[in-house]
């Protein structure tokens, strides 16, 4: 008896999610270029993010941009508090100050929640003295 009720509840929830299907607005897709520099304190970095429309290459201004970070090798186990990015000088640029927990590879999650909703992810290696795009070497190799 309880089992049947369980299944009904599940089906109801599932259909609630199914219903708003396919309201695909003409989505603006964003592309991001990220450049980060180590800041004064250890594990702190200043990042400049340039957002452009991936189809027209126009800079995206006036966005609400939140930057979060997660380590790809330990998903969901670091909870770096997302920071709101401040618009920078040039149109389409935003500044964010990140406080990370460890050095290494971090996947930055750029959440756009302004006029347009989108998310761009980019993985970079954060070393004490510089930041570079992460190389694609994977697997338990003990070499760099």
């Amino acid at each position: 008896m309880t089992r049947a009720r369980l299944i009904c509840a599940l089906a109801a929830m599932a259909s609630a999610i199914c219903l708003p299907a396919g309201s695909a607005l003409a989505q603006v897709r964003a592309k991001a270029d990220v450049a980060c520099r180590p800041a004064a304190a250890t594990l702190q970095y200043d990042c400049t993010i340039t957002l452009t429309n991936s189809r027209t290459n126009e800079p995206l201004t006036g966005m609400t941009l939140t930057v979060g970070a997660d380590m790809p090798s330990m998903p969901m186990m670091h909870n770096v508090r997302p920071v709101r990015a401040v618009p920078g000088q040039a149109p389409g640029t935003y500044q964010a100050h990140l406080a990370l927990e460890m050095h290494g590879d971090w996947t930055l999650r750029l959440d756009l929640s302004g006029p347009v909703r989108d998310r761009v992810l980019t993985t970079m290696r954060f070393d004490p003295d510089r930041v570079m795009p992460a190389a694609a070497t994977k697997g338990p190799s003990h070499k760099r």
Binding site: T2, R3, L6, A9, L10, M13, A14, S15, I17, C18, P20, A21, G22, S23, A24, Q27, R29, L43, T66, G68, D70, P72, S73, M74, P75, M76, M77, H78, N79, R81, P82, A99, E101, M102, T107, R109, D111, R117, D118, R119, L121, T123, A136, K138, G139
Partner: protein, 312 residues
């Protein structure tokens, strides 16, 4: 509720699925370091279903769970007959094989003029279901927890059912269970399939939560963590692994002051806790004690007293 809290709660919800998956196998006495493989399979399958084939979310999640469950049964066939440690290492090997295979897996479809799909080590970007269908982060959180509550209810039913008792019997002593007439290998296969499906469901949710997958995420760290949650939180009840997840992500949150030392402290805490209570905080004896207190409280209630009087 601000986005950060929603994010943390969503993470807790999704990780709970893989923790429960490892826990289910632990009940039958099998240690699996490889549940992250089914998490990965579920994630990729569900992501492909919505992003490349345009399926609705429920169908995609279901598809991910089914595929993972099937994969788990297929892997279980040759491996469940191995004993303890060999099975554990075999699951580890299998999980790494799956991860490395995903590094080679390329399946791209042109959608709106752009290639979308898994692209080996570059990962699988653009699982944009929640954007295209206007699912807010709070809504998705609701979905995660609705499914989690349903899963927990199923576990509670399991604990009270013959199947649950059978699983625990096998975990206690498989030979004795076989002598008592239980079809041990078939039941273990069932447990493996269910555990795989559970991990796959979690994976599908993860794929849509983060909108981005790459093989590197599904490495051995995830697998051993999921095992650890059950062992820390307790193997006496399905709430045990959840407690483990809360302690891990909860502690990781509350000791932010020690940002660089988190692992050191957490690792030490886990080691000490495991010395004191090798079956976790909510182990079988703790659950038993809590149940007795609960029953005693119930026995004092007027309804029960009236019932007892009527029966005698």
């Amino acid at each position: 509720m601000d986005d950060y809290v929603i994010g943390v709660l969503s993470n807790i919800g999704v990780i709970s699925f893989i923790a429960l998956s490892a826990y289910l196998l632990l009940l039958t006495g099998e240690i699996s370091f490889g549940q992250q493989a089914f998490f990965a399979i579920g994630a990729y399958a569900a992501g492909i279903a919505t992003a490349l084939w345009g399926w609705p979310l429920a169908a995609a999640l279901f598809w991910g769970a089914i595929i993972s469950g099937l994969a788990a049964v297929l892997v279980g066939l040759p491996t469940l007959r191995l004993h303890g440690l060999y099975f554990a290492v075999a699951t580890l090997a299998f999980a790494e094989m799956v991860r490395l295979l995903f590094e080679q897996f390329r399946y791209q479809v042109i959608i709106d003029g752009e290639p979308v799909g898994p692209n080996g080590t570059d990962g699988f970007r653009g699982i944009r279901y929640i954007f295209e269908n206007d699912v807010g982060s709070l809504q998705f959180l609701g979905l995660i927890y609705a499914l989690l509550v349903a899963t927990l209810a199923a576990f509670m039913l399991l604990e009270r059912s013959r199947l649950g008792v059978a699983f625990r019997m096998i975990g206690e002593d498989a030979v004795l269970a076989e002598l008592n007439g239980l079809a041990v290998s078939r039941l273990k296969m069932l447990a493996a399939g269910l555990a795989g499906a559970l991990a796959g469901l979690g994976g599908g949710l993860y794929a849509h939560l983060t909108t981005y997958l790459e093989p590197r995420i599904f490495d051995v760290m995830l697998g051993v963590h999921s095992l650890a949650y059950g062992l820390i939180g307790g193997l006496g009840t399905a709430l045990g692994p959840l407690l483990g997840v809360l302690i891990d992500i909860g502690i990781l949150e509350s000791i932010r002051f020690f940002a660089g030392y988190r692992m050191i402290i957490f690792g030490g805490l886990v080691a000490v806790l495991l010395i004191l209570r090798p079956r976790g905080l909510l182990d079988e004896s703790a659950v038993h004690r809590i149940r007795r207190v609960w029953l005693r409280l119930l026995a004092g209630s007027p309804a029960t007293k009236r019932l007892n009087r009527d029966l005698t």
